[in-house]
Symmetry: C2
Subunit: 267 residues, 2 copies
């Protein structure tokens, strides 16, 4: 399954490397400028409710593309075959990870629907270009996972899909926090503006130095923690819904698309 | 000095009422939807430096219009005669208020240059339309003066004009603070986005409940104080520069223009 001859965009090149088995690791920092996405695959019987859930919760679940039932191709994102184009997958059964696999050829079914959701890598690139410091990267390197927290903010439920919003946190001094709000407002397709800043306890976070996922990073005395809705939310909610069968990417092993981050800016 | 026959816009109607002596009070709440402005009048010998100061400090000093030396008309803002169209004026000599007058006909000189600077009334209207609560208004009524503070933020100096930025403060819960940042970002011509939010001590404010100007308002435990650059800055700086002769409006007795607030939105 080689990529087409003469592909010139770096998103496609990286994706074809994944497809060919040449890359099996995390995708952070690969194909700079190109949109990466979170994957959720659900049986058609659950897909309607999940789609309604995404629509009702666009900040944690910004839907970039949804496939036809049974069709693993997502042309809106490039020559994407969802069965082969991510470095590593999780197969969930009854809300628990049953196994991790390198491709979905053996498990694909004609009732499966693929969802690709926006990822904060896109807006982080814009923040970095604006000269802002991303603490998790400056502390732990370009492949670091941002600190993430389950909150007391309830998502709007849809069918069996319900649960708390997960947020990512990046600390900034006030002037940079204001700039970060302005920049991420331009990117509603990849979580958009923050959902909170300042006192973490107001959204149910007991200790901002102890994230539920990702690395812990310091928040200095002259900084505000700034919280964005996070793409882990739909996965956590879908798992909590205990659907009999679901597929996701392994965290930080994302789908690299042909879309450019800059094309997601609404202004 | 009647206004032209058949004037239909409310900004002009209010301004003509001021011109005719029918209105001598504060202008807050008058001519909703129309831009109001701060006035500074300086001799041509000081005007160049003051103009450079405004250019270097666009957040506290957003310049809406500047007149030709000796010409009191500012056509860019309507049929504005700066000598008669504000309800009340202050004459400053050597950095101190020497007197207050109802019009400038007796003191106008052929070397004077009029500056009109944007005012937060314009963006406050947009905040109110978005359903946000402005504490100084909800506590003290529509004519209340927002709390204002001298800060440790230094303006960029130009010639003799130098000094600290003055800010206005409005408390909001985080989600409303984020919305307020988005809304005011659209209005760079009337102070634009905030310059700070959160810990007041980081910008040299010892007690956020004790403003240097305006009314004190409470900041609740679940709120952040949000600070915008304030139109009092240029007046305070010009006074500190001890120019021999200067004219300003009396606080809250603004110039009402023909411009619409909505026309100042950059997007």
């Amino acid at each position: 399954m080689d990529g087409p001859i003469g592909v010139t965009n770096e998103g496609a090149r990286v994706r074809h490397g994944v497809r060919n088995g040449a890359h099996r690791g995390p995708t952070a920092g690969l194909a700079p400028g190109f949109v990466q996405g979170n994957l959720a695959v659900l049986p058609a019987a659950e897909a309607g409710d999940f789609l309604r859930f995404c629509h009702a919760n666009p900040k944690p679940c910004p839907l970039l593309a949804v496939g036809e039932p049974g069709n693993p191709m997502l042309r809106a994102l490039g020559d994407v075959d969802i069965r082969t184009d991510l470095p590593r997958y999780r197969i969930w059964r009854d809300g628990e990870v049953a196994e991790e696999v390198d491709d979905l050829r053996a498990v694909w079914r004609d009732d499966l629907v693929a969802f690709v959701l926006g990822c904060s890598f896109s807006f982080e690139e814009a923040l970095i270009e604006a000269g802002l410091d991303l603490r998790h990267i400056s502390c732990f390197g370009p492949g670091a996972n941002v600190p993430m927290f389950r909150t007391s903010i309830a998502c709007t439920p849809a069918g069996r899909f319900a649960g708390p919003m997960v947020v990512s946190m990046r600390p900034f001094r006030a002037a940079d926090a204001i700039r970060a709000i302005q920049i991420t407002t331009r990117f509603p397709g990849v979580h958009g503006a923050p959902v909170h800043l300042g006192d973490p306890s107001l959204i149910g976070i007991a200790d901002v130095l102890r994230p539920d996922y990702g690395v812990p990073v310091p928040v200095e005395r002259d900084e505000l923690p700034v919280f964005w809705a996070c793409g882990v939310t739909p996965q956590a909610v879908a798992a909590a819904a205990k659907v009999p069968f679901m597929i996701t990417h392994v965290p930080s092993h994302m789908l690299v698309t042909d879309l450019r981050n800059a094309s997601l800016a609404v202004l």
